[in-house]
Symmetry: C2
Subunit: 343 residues, 2 copies
């Protein structure tokens, strides 16, 4: 059995450190399979919350002090260089040194990516990491990657993302021959920008189930299991989906509150709204794994609640069990051989 030691960046997120500590307390309770949780943060600043959640002497909790925090407004590379004692950098060093097996952070995404790229390092052969986000389609979820780790991409990066996404879909979601799509501006092979046109040529030769270009609308019809794109586009798409979902809830409230008949209708159907909310629930999903690094890192939403932190820790624990990294290393190696053979 694999050991499961998970570090939580308790200073990261809009409601840190309170929700992180509350989430850790819930995770220690709910997941006895986790050997150890390591809370990384400013010990004086979290002491009060540790006490509040009865965690001052928990047998499966370790505390590690980090003097600094990366603020959301800081440029990620600068933060990394200037703040070597930040909670996320300290956590990455613990993983580099083999003292932990996974990290969960709801803090500055760019800083988590930078710390894991520079300190933890990428897997052998992997040039850049990618965030694998789950988006809700009409008939279930699909994986979008990169959702924001590698903002400036080359075609080879996208090819590697496809392999990482394929491995993730197989191991974590049990999909046999995951359908891989390339996000573009039209379904036809000829459509796209320079990056996607180059990536298309690599992807169509790879030993994967590549279904060609997919579009922003058709991907919500679940025509692909994994949709590959650069991190800038992926981030814009992910946040657009989030923005639309919130706007829809607002419009629903507005239109239902217009008159008594509708309000009665809405009340009779109120459990339906709860169901609807759960479909795209960020709390349930907990966080998105950063794939391609020499370890496990799960990135939560900045607005994470205690429930999302708890679920994010669960996702990190699952990612340790699935052990995707060895498979990614071997697939990326094969891709390099194939690409050098093709000139």
């Amino acid at each position: 059995l694999t050991e499961k030691r998970i570090a939580v960046d308790v200073m990261g997120g809009d409601h840190a450190p309170r929700v992180a500590i509350e989430g850790i307390a819930a995770a220690l309770d709910e997941f006895p399979g986790i050997d150890r949780i390591v809370a990384v943060g400013h010990l004086q600043k979290i002491a009060h919350y540790l006490e509040a959640y009865d965690l001052t002497d928990h047998p499966r909790l370790t505390l590690v002090h980090a003097e600094e925090v990366v603020e959301m407004c800081e440029p990620s590379t600068m933060a990394l260089r200037g703040k070597k004692k930040s909670s996320i950098s300290v956590a990455a060093k613990l993983m580099k040194n083999g003292e932990i097996d996974a990290i969960f952070s709801a803090g500055h995404t760019g800083a988590a990516v930078a710390a894991n790229t520079v300190i933890t390092r990428t897997l052998p052969g992997v040039d850049r990491p990618a965030i694998a986000a789950l988006l809700p389609g009409q008939n279930g979820h699909f994986i979008l990657m990169d959702a924001g780790a590698t903002i400036e991409c080359k075609a080879e990066n996208l090819a590697q993302f496809a392999l990482m996404g394929e491995t993730y879909a197989r191991l974590v979601f049990g999909i046999d021959e995951p359908r891989i799509g390339l996000l573009s501006v039209g379904g036809e092979d000829s459509k796209g920008n320079d990056l996607t046109k180059d990536a298309f040529k690599i992807l169509e030769k790879m030993p994967i189930n590549f279904i060609g270009n997919v579009e922003g609308n058709s991907m919500f019809e679940n025509i692909a299991d994994v949709v590959v794109c650069d991190g800038f586009t992926g981030n814009a798409v992910l946040k657009t989906a989030e923005g639309m979902a919130k706007a829809t809830v607002k419009w629903l409230k507005d239109v239902f509150s217009k008159n008594a008949f509708r309000m009665t209708g809405a009340m009779l159907a109120r459990n339906a709204f709860r169901d609807l909310k759960e479909i795209g629930d960020a709390e349930e999903c907990g966080g998105a794994p950063l794939l391609g690094i020499n370890g496990v890192c799960v990135i939560g939403h900045g607005s994470s609640t205690a429930k999302s932190v708890c679920n994010g820790i669960r996702v990190a624990s699952e990612m340790i069990s699935f052990g995707a990294n060895e498979k990614i290393i071997s697939k990326v190696k094969q891709l390099k051989i194939q690409m050098s053979e093709n000139g």
Copy 2:
């Protein structure tokens, strides 16, 4: 008063030519202010529909024959070079020669952009055109541009899009000091890819109400009136919003049909669903203008209905009245002077 002669590419769109002819019939009825509609298409293929909608001898309708059609699957540049007699190329030539004042097309977007860029030409000083799409935010619509005309962009293109979008927001929506945002991966100035970082430096020096970076989610909170981005990202975002809206309607139907209580609720609230559908209704908006060309072109959705075609013709007619092009020329000229002064 400006003359209003509008060409409709009747071969363009998934349901062409039927819906185009039906839309023209409705527009001739509803908008007496339009001097002339010019139906451009394969005359033998449309004869039957003209007869069906009583248009064979309409005093304000002219027919122009076009031998070819650009199919949706063709690469746009190839289509333009190989099909000089396509309906969209013939329409662009009519505009170039001053025989019409605007074009509406629900056909191949890339071909419409290419024909208007190469035949109609861009406005003096404008390097590349942009599609200005309306997206539904929590508290009303906002403008996203470019929604897919210029797939590969330079920073100067984005700066010009900002000026075109600003002019459009002022003239068409009557907004006094339109708030211009730059779509990026974080709200902070430092976030973005190479393109947006370069564009940010130009935009912050321009005499516009530039509010900085906006994100895919925050733009749906109506923090900006105009959101600027490259055409690849804009297209992905626009189609994601569309895909999410469709998926939401599907989920709503699923959750409401689960039991009798909910179904009763849904029935009591059924007018609310109609209202909701109207919020993001593509039929009502008709189409998105292609800004930056030496004329007026409104691009409809491939799946346009007769109602959308009619509304697209209305939008084309309004764009002629607003006369945005002279203002765009003068603003772009000032930008060039400013940029050469700044070195």
